[in-house]
Each structure stands twice: as structure tokens, then as C-alpha cells.
Symmetry: C2
Subunit: 381 residues, 2 copies
């Protein structure tokens, strides 16, 4: 047995999700509640009936690869060869970590709070992980100076998910420029940035920044999961500079061979339909406004979402978020994700998703606020 | 960069396939030419329209997992928990190799001739690979004694693809019993067997053997790719004993999260439709008879297929299969896969697929036979 597999612990997110009952107010959801646009699905189906479902090239259908590259039009990755189509952004992320990092000497730097997958993938690869905590007093805004101060000579990859799961903060253009310039000036072997753009189409601020626009050592991962309510389609991609593309494709080819041809045809229809990637964006923007109203009324401290479909709330000082999440599930039938799942710096917080009816979100927040006001000793650290 | 990625060489199969022209007689194909049954696709589509496409559990839809376990009904893996649904059998194989083998001490034993993926996956994991050649004089029949003689104390996993890509040989029940009994008697840490059953529904002999029926340390990988002409659906599974299942699911969860929900619904319809897994079997059996007639008439030495949709032919003594495959492509417009791609012991052979019209196969074999009779010095080793 591979001892690295044994070191990976169970997901706290799933531990709490397992307590969900039919009656539960579920604010733990990490996926859209909208239905996908049937036109995209129909396009995939029409293709399948006409042509069957054969393998594509390992890197994906050339038309889809070209459409993805053209859509984002990032300076160092404008051609089909810069795109590798994958089984969701999860496989893209895995392939990037596996390709870019030498377990014998390289380190991954994860900007926290962060979704736990990056660190777990690295551990499964035997790669050392360092983390850097953003500042709670600044509502966990992305802070280039903190990130730069944590780099070591071994750091070869920095992972930034923006808009962020869980904090819902988005990095702005100035911070992207500041960090990129400093990384570029380091010289020597480049420090790569993995920008996880999974919530790109749920961005609500005007000055959101994109590393791939300015920093040549950027890899972008994304998918149709959140933008088009197609989590179950498992269609994602890695956008990489040409020097990296053949290696990424090689690793992807041995992990899964190629992505689903039906899913690739659905994606091709999305990319060929003007504005289809943003067909749900307006709904999320409206939903966000209502969620903020609910949070304002609750009296809880919360982080106003720059993006994504989450909002995080602060528990009482010294509160244990995991114990709180269990108690909320067991005694108040509310499912919320404990902050500790996203790094030590997010202890004392809960991640709430507002993808369902606002009334459901409001009822969940009401129960959480009442619980926080009680402030039982049992939930203290 | 991960140095292991650099050690993986380009696929010889793809090197030859890249020479394919619209006019080519393509006997290199590794996938069905049949169309999939549209009823299965429609079932997936009906589900998607009604429910959208949400994530499933990491290990897959519980109904599908149960249906797969029940269908095969192998003694040590009869429950849903013994099934992990994956992105094709490729990801299943990757997860098995990654989970079962400790790169610091374990070895993988590949029974050759073999598809190159097992060894390349192991190399990507830093796992040492040993190979054992089956006997050309015995038409590369699976030989338990040769396999047993190659085991070392470090061998923890033996990969057997039966029916075999490329040889089209299938292991029989007696050989499975002989090998299983001997492995079981070894004691100590078990030697696992990975039985790749991808061509199971293209088996044409009566006494084909299945390790999972008799040997408790068996993992089975399979998919709908070959049975139902759904290579592009990327829907496969690993069947594992309960002691191994949680680890396999954990690795799969970080590689790709979960399989495509549309694909899982298609698969559920296949498993719930009586005999649907074998709906193409009769066609292949007929096609095989005609392919054998063609080969008999050609005068070439060939291996009569026990299973799969390949037939292999012998070139002249000391022939270089890669140079021959290039020359056949360049000068005779025939695409055939060089034996050397499947291991040193298969040098001098070509793998031909007979998935298309028999007339196409016959014309390709005619050109190859004429070429072999010429026996040009240029193609000698």
C-alpha cells in the first residue's frame, strides 16, 4: 500500500454534509441549485446521436481547445495548444500539481483560507505544503506582502482561488500586479501561480484581477461546473503557457486518457453561444444582494462576497467551528461548513452558501444568529 | 518540474496513428466502429433534463455501484461499496496502481505483451516495473509458471489484461486457478492481481478465466468503452474487495472528484437492461469468423483471437515492427500498430484491429502479406 494514501484525512465538509436530513436547512452546498440550460445538453445529445461517442485526442477536441483559448484570450495562452480539456477542474488541478512540482525538493504554497483539495493533492504526491494566512482583520483580503513574505527558495507554485472558496473575496488588479511584479523580479527558477478561476462568472466587483493577464508563469484552471450549473458534467480545463502544455497533456493522458466527448460537445456549444458562460451571472448578482440584506439584519459579522456563492459569518470569540457545525446540524437542523476545514486561520467562521431560495438562507442565518447569541460554552475551543 | 514526467516517452501507437490519411486502410484503431445504442444515451438525457447534472458521491451513484456489483457477483465484491465509478477504466487503473504500490519498495509486474499504459502509470508514480514475456512459440498464451518465476519479494501487483490487448489471447480457468493457488500459497503480504477485463464482452472461448471468481486479492477494472461502443463516454469502474475500497475511493476523489453524472445514468440504463452489456457481442463473434478467414487466406502467421477485436500477424524473421509500420503507412497507406509498442517480446509482430468492414480488413491484410513476401532488408532489425 502507498503510505501517502493513509496520510489523507477524511473531509470535514463531507463529515458535516453526512448529517443532512430531508428537513435540513442546507447552507453547506458547494454547487449551483439552478438547472443547466437544456440547449447546451441538447447540442451534446445531437452530436452523440449523429456521431456516437468516440475518444477525442488526449488534450481534447481541437475545436473546443481553440474556443476556450480564444474566449479568455490571455497573452501567453491564445492557441488551442495552450488548453488541456480535463475531467472537471479537479483533474486539471491535479495534473498541474503533479507536473510542476518535484516532490524531492519543491514546495506548494497555499493561500488560506483555501479549499482543502490543493493541500491534499500535494500530500498524495508527497509534495511539501506551506500555507500563508490572510488577515482576519482585513476580512481575509488577498495580501501580496503576506504571500511574498512566506515564499521560500523551495516554493515553485502558489495556489490562489479567486473569487475564493470559502471567503468569497476576489483579488483585485492592483494586488495581482504587485504580486506578479515581485515574483517576476525574484529571477531564477520561476515561481508559478495556479489561479483557480472556478467562480469567475460569479464575480461582483469591477476591479477583479487575473494573473494570466499579466504574469507569464500562470496556469489557470476552470470548468463549466459553477458558471453553467454543470457540476455533474465533469468538464474542465487547464490553460497553460506553451512551455508547460505538452507535460500537462502527458500527465492528463495517463490519469484519464481524455475527457468525455458528450461533455466536450456541450462545452463547445457553451463557448460558441455568445454570453452563455455568463447566462447565470445576473441571477447570482441579484441573489447576492438579497443575501447581504439577510446578513445585515442578522447582526452577525460577515464578509460581503466579492464573488462565488458563499458568505462567511463569524462565530463568538474562541468558538470551535467544527463543534458548532455539528451542534447546528444536530440540534437546529442547519448544515453549515466549519471554517477550520479551510485552514487554522479560518477557525471561528462558518461558510454558508446562498444558492437556494433566499427564504431558506434567511431561516438558516436566523437559526445561526440565535445560536451565536446563546453562546454556549460547549462550542468554545 | 516533476522529473518523472520527463521520463515518460511518447506513445508509439500515436506516432503511427498520426500518419493516418483519409485514404488510409486503418487497422490501428483501438475502439469500436459500431454506434452506441441510442436508448442508453436517451436515458442519460432524460435524467439530465429532469434533474440537471449535479455531483454524485465521490464513489459514484449508489444505484449504479450496486448494479455493477450485482451484475458481476464476484465473491469478494458483491456490494455497492466494492465499486468505485471512474473516468473510464484508465482512471480506475491509475487509482489502483497509486493506491496499492509504495514507490519506495514495491514493484509492479506486467505480463507482456501488454498495453503500455500500466508501465507508464507506474513510472509516473515512481514505481519500479518488472515485465514477464509470454512465449511466442505458444502464441503468447498466459503461462502461470513464467509469471510465478518472475515474482520477487517486492512484487505487490501483477497486471493481466485478458482478453489481451494486443495478443487477443484470453487466460483460461485452469491457468487462473494455477496462478491463484500459487499466489495464495506464498503467504506474507498478498500479491494483488489487477485483472483488466476491458474486452470481457468480446470473449469467444468457453473456458475464459476470471481472477475475481477465485482469488481474494483481485482488483477488476472495466468500462462501457468496448462493450457498448462508448469510448468517449469515459465511464469505467474499479471492483475491489472491501479492505481496499475506501483507499481507492479516496485516491479517485482527489484525482477527479466524481464521474460524469450523465455518463453514470447511461451506465445505469445499460446495467438495468437485460443483456445490454452483450448487445454487440454477437456482431463481434461474426466479425471474428470473417477476420480469421481473411487471415487464413493471407498465408501470414497469425494468432487466432480468443477475445478482443484484434488479431496479430508475424512479420518476417528479424523484422523491425516500428520501421515496418512506418513503411506500411508511408508506402502502402495501411495503419497497423508495431508489436514493439507492447514489449520487446512482441517485436516482429503487428497488431491489426478488425472493427471495421471486413473488406477493409481484407485489403489491409492483403497489402501487409504482399509486403512481408517482398521482405525488404530495410525493415530488418
Amino acid at each position: 500500500m502507498n503510505p501517502k494514501v493513509g496520510t489523507i484525512t477524511t473531509s470535514l465538509i463531507r463529515e458535516i454534509a453526512a448529517k443532512r436530513k430531508p428537513s435540513s436547512i442546507d447552507l453547506g452546498l458547494g454547487e449551483p441549485s439552478l438547472k443547466p440550460n437544456p440547449e447546451h445538453l441538447q447540442a451534446g445529445m445531437d452530436y452523440a446521436f449523429a456521431h456516437g461517442l468516440r475518444y477525442t485526442m488526449n488534450a481534447g477536441d481541437p475545436h473546443l481547445r481553440a474556443a476556450v483559448a480564444e474566449h479568455y484570450n490571455y497573452p501567453h495562452m491564445r492557441d488551442a495548444e495552450n488548453v488541456c480539456i480535463t475531467t472537471g477542474s479537479q483533474e486539471a488541478t491535479y495534473a498541474v500539481i503533479k507536473t510542476l512540482l518535484d516532490p524531492s525538493k519543491d514546495e506548494l504554497l497555499v493561500v488560506e483560507p483555501a479549499f482543502p483539495s490543493y493541500a491534499k493533492m500535494a500530500k498524495l504526491e508527497g509534495v511539501d505544503v506551506r500555507t500563508v494566512a490572510m488577515n482576519e482583520n482585513d476580512d481575509f483580503a488577498f495580501d501580496p506582502q503576506r504571500i511574498l513574505a512566506t515564499l521560500t527558495p523551495r516554493t515553485r507554485l502558489v495556489v490562489i482561488c479567486s473569487p475564493c472558496n470559502p471567503t468569497a473575496r476576489a483579488i483585485d488588479r492592483d494586488a495581482v500586479h504587485e504580486l506578479s511584479d515581485a515574483l517576476f523580479r525574484l529571477g531564477g527558477d520561476p515561481v508559478w501561480v495556479l489561479h483557480d478561476e472556478i467562480y469567475r462568472e460569479q464575480t461582483f466587483i469591477e476591479d477583479a484581477g487575473y494573473f494570466a493577464s499579466v504574469y507569464p508563469y500562470t496556469v489557470v484552471t476552470n470548468s463549466l461546473s459553477k458558471s453553467n450549473a454543470l457540476t455533474g458534467l465533469r468538464l474542465g480545463w487547464a490553460l497553460t503557457p506553451s512551455e508547460l502544455s505538452p507535460s500537462i497533456v502527458k500527465v492528463h493522458a495517463w490519469l484519464t486518457s481524455c475527457a468525455d466527448t458528450f461533455a466536450q460537445q456541450v462545452a463547445l456549444h457553451v463557448f460558441r453561444t455568445p454570453h452563455a458562460l455568463r447566462e447565470h451571472t445576473h441571477w447570482y448578482a441579484q441573489q447576492r444582494e438579497r443575501a447581504i440584506e439577510v446578513l445585515e439584519e442578522s447582526g452577525l459579522r460577515y464578509i460581503a462576497p466579492d464573488g462565488s456563492f458563499y458568505a462567511c459569518v463569524r462565530l463568538a470569540e474562541h468558538a470551535n467551528s467544527l463543534a458548532t457545525a455539528h451542534k447546528l446540524a444536530d440540534e437546529h437542523d442547519v448544515i453549515a461548513v466549519p471554517g477550520i476545514a479551510f485552514g487554522d486561520c479560518f477557525e471561528g467562521w462558518l461558510r454558508l452558501s446562498w444558492v437556494k431560495e433566499v427564504a431558506v438562507f434567511a431561516e438558516g442565518v436566523r437559526r445561526i444568529a440565535a445560536f451565536v447569541k446563546e453562546g454556549p460554552a460547549a462550542i468554545r475551543l
